[in-house]
Amino acid sequence: MQPDQGRAVLVGIMGRLAVGEQDALGELYQRTSAKLFGVCLRILNDREEAEDVLQDVYLTVWRRADRFDSERASPITWLATIARNRSIDRLRQIGRRGGERPMEAAADVADAGPDAFELMAASDDGRRLRECLGALDAPTQTSIASAFYGGITYEQLAERLRVPLGTIKSRIRRGLIKLRECLAQ
């Protein structure tokens, strides 16, 4: 997907959705479902759950399309954010049901390191975020990336990275402050 090239088209589709044009949802699905399914799958790590959430995501988009504001967010970011938030909500529900999953996903956390950042360099914003993450120490980079891609709580993060809860909290909070400063420059 090439976000900038597709942006105008997606904004157009979102506008049609906002006025209740049903066909627009199919077009949106064609253009964005692979990306959003990738997001759901990344967070949930389970195809069946990801399919359920994806379905819910598009119905949510249909109902909330009138809240999309192209001045405030790019359409693909808005959509990916809904997909990720819905996935995280589902993850919280699954997590409450029992602790059967945490260790299985531990390997995934390790994958979220700097290698993944290579793919971010595709856009200017991606390059900048990558540079600013690169300015953080390695444990902080890993913690922030693991949190984003894992969609997991401070507590789970501490457990999986095998560091005390207080450490992970302060590491991430401090990292986020630095990140904001760096990105503002």
Binding site: Q22, L25, G26, S33, A34, K35, F37, G38, V39, L41, R42, E51, V53, L54, Q55, D56, L59, T60, R63, A73, S74, I76, T77, W78, A80, T81, R84, R86, I88, D89, R90, R92, Q93, R96, F117, L119, M120, A122, S123, D125, G126, R128, L129, R130, A145, F148, Y149, I152, T153, Y154, E155, L157, G166, T167, K169, S170, I172, R173, I177, R180
Partner: protein
């Protein structure tokens, strides 16, 4: 290690933490409520969504299975069908309420349920509700739980159903009081097949209430619940007459 100084970094940027996704379920919902009513916080969340958006670039697209879209299209068609029939322009209020009732029944099917802030409370949480300390509640005693949320997503009641000595009991814990002077909240179960809502009894706006709902066919898979505001004493007709202030789906844990 520098981490020894960690306690000094106490100031949390809630918007950043919400966007990063490190908050637990209850804190997440609190943040979502804040987004709805606090424009400054909402802008901060927008800002962090934009800052971290490039992370999505590193996620490879994956083609979803062919069966997903037909399910979405079907559900969408059903939602749209329900918007149209029986619309009487002369009674916009009545239409709106009955539309919501139909829609709640529909969402009980599970497809649109997540937008209702449906919440699964598992046995461990039931333990907390019952104030039984750290001990696990017996899962067999527990049947269904959910959150009844208003249209803007704000949770109003947490509801838990369970069986006790052969009869079904519903416990409702108010989260926030629906503001409606003089009227009382009444709980309804909405069958998934579009049948008429059935009253489960009156609630208290500020206290947990335990309702004996035996013989009222509450524990029905895919049912939904809703709360409407009714005259003192409850709905005079046996069907909801007042505005719906909360609704939510039920799920088995």
């Amino acid at each position: 290690m520098s981490d020894l100084r960690s306690e000094e970094v106490g100031e949390a940027d809630r918007a950043a933490e919400y966007v990063l996704g490190v908050l637990g379920g209850a804190e997440r919902r609190a943040a979502e409520r804040q987004i709805e009513r606090d424009p400054v916080f909402a802008r901060a969340v927008d800002g962090w969504n934009a800052r971290l958006a490039p992370f999505y670039e590193a996620i490879e697209p994956v083609e979803p299975p062919a069966g997903v879209w037909p399910r979405i299209a079907e559900e969408l068609a059903r939602m749209r069908r329900l918007e149209r029939p029986g619309v009487s322009p002369a009674k916009p209020k009545g239409r709106r309420v009955s539309g919501i009732w139909q829609w709640i029944g529909l969402s009980g099917m599970g497809l649109a349920a997540a937008s209702l802030a449906a919440l699964i409370v598992v046995a461990g949480n039931l333990t907390d509700l019952g104030g039984m300390g750290g001990e696990q509640a017996t899962p067999a005693d527990f049947i269904l739980a959910g959150t009844l949320a208003s249209d803007n997503g704000q949770p109003l009641f947490t509801v838990v159903f369970y069986s006790e000595d052969d009869h079904d009991v519903a416990t409702l814990i108010p989260v926030a009081s629906p503001a409606d002077g003089g009227r009382v909240p009444e709980l309804w179960v909405v069958p998934p097949d579009g049948a008429a809502p059935r009253s489960l009894g009156l609630l208290h706006a500020s206290q947990p209430v335990v309702l004996d709902v035996s013989n009222r066919q509450v524990v029905e898979p895919d049912a939904a619940l809703a709360v409407s505001m009714e005259p003192a004493g409850g709905s005079p007709t046996g069907l909801p007459t007042g505005p719906v202030v909360a609704h939510g789906a039920l799920r088995t844990p």
